[in-house]
Symmetry: C2
Subunit: 160 residues, 2 copies
């Protein structure tokens, strides 16, 4: 047990603000990452492994594959600089909450960490296909992900 | 920042099984404690401070003050044995979820960790005064606690 690493699945998303540019990670995702480093990993870098997961829709007007790649590069570099093990996974899908829970099932992490996500309103539900009900990604993952889940509320949530 | 400890508030409860005896902690509370040690604190014992909180009703037929004291002694000793800083707080109150969120406001921890708690059924709501609605302690704390919250689901939840 002592030699096994704690594996943290970190759900990250792209910024929705056009023109924000590199590294394309949303402010809340960057804040979640910093929170993990400061509060969980701390100086114990050899005992943790961060597995970044991004799910974005193939139809999204703002989320493109190269942006997701660049975002993962950013997190990978940051981890490398402080010698924390990391890996990344990009998935295309219309419903991030389902994809995130499937990924939890697949990799069986010790902890899933994510920022807050808004509950979908009426118009979003009408115009976004394959999104079941108005439950937020957070609520769904808290209920269905088969591992402990931390939702990190940050000031950045107001921005995106 | 490097010298500050990560302060984890751990909500623990007494066992509801009569005759289980010392140390009186519920199986799920002990499992939550072990989860924190194995997955978060690991070998980095000097960087964490565990603050145990127990809230029990003054009218409870099974939760007595001396049992809460003994439970806190148990967790305190376990922490001392591995040199993790700890403290404890016992509060009497009819509504644990309110007390837990008040304690979060008071001590401002980096993380609140708790086991799963069942949603109250109709009869419990009728017979327990001062319990608002049927929302579980977990759901309430996830929504209202002013810090990140981890709910650790354990096999022990089936027992108590």
């Amino acid at each position: 047990m002592e030699n096994q690493k704690t594996r943290i699945l970190v759900a990250v998303k792209l910024t929705q603000s056009s023109g924000e540019g590199y590294p394309y990670a949303s402010e809340s995702s960057k804040a979640v990452f910093e929170w993990i480093l400061q509060n969980i990993v701390r100086t114990n870098v050899t005992r943790f492994d961060l597995q970044f997961l991004n799910v974005h829709s193939p139809d999204s007007p703002y989320a493109k594959d190269y942006q997701a790649d660049k975002m993962m590069e950013y997190f990978g570099c940051r981890c490398q600089m402080i010698s924390v093990g990391s890996s990344s996974e990009i998935r295309l899908g219309h419903d991030p909450k389902i994809e995130i829970c499937n990924e939890v099932k697949r990799v069986n992490p010790d902890l899933l960490v994510m920022g807050t996500t808004p509950k979908l309103g009426y118009f979003q539900r009408v115009f976004r296909r394959n999104v079941s009900g108005s439950i937020s990604i957070n609520e769904y993952c808290l209920k269905h992900a088969e591992c402990p889940v931390v939702i990190v509320k940050t000031r950045a949530d107001d921005q995106n």
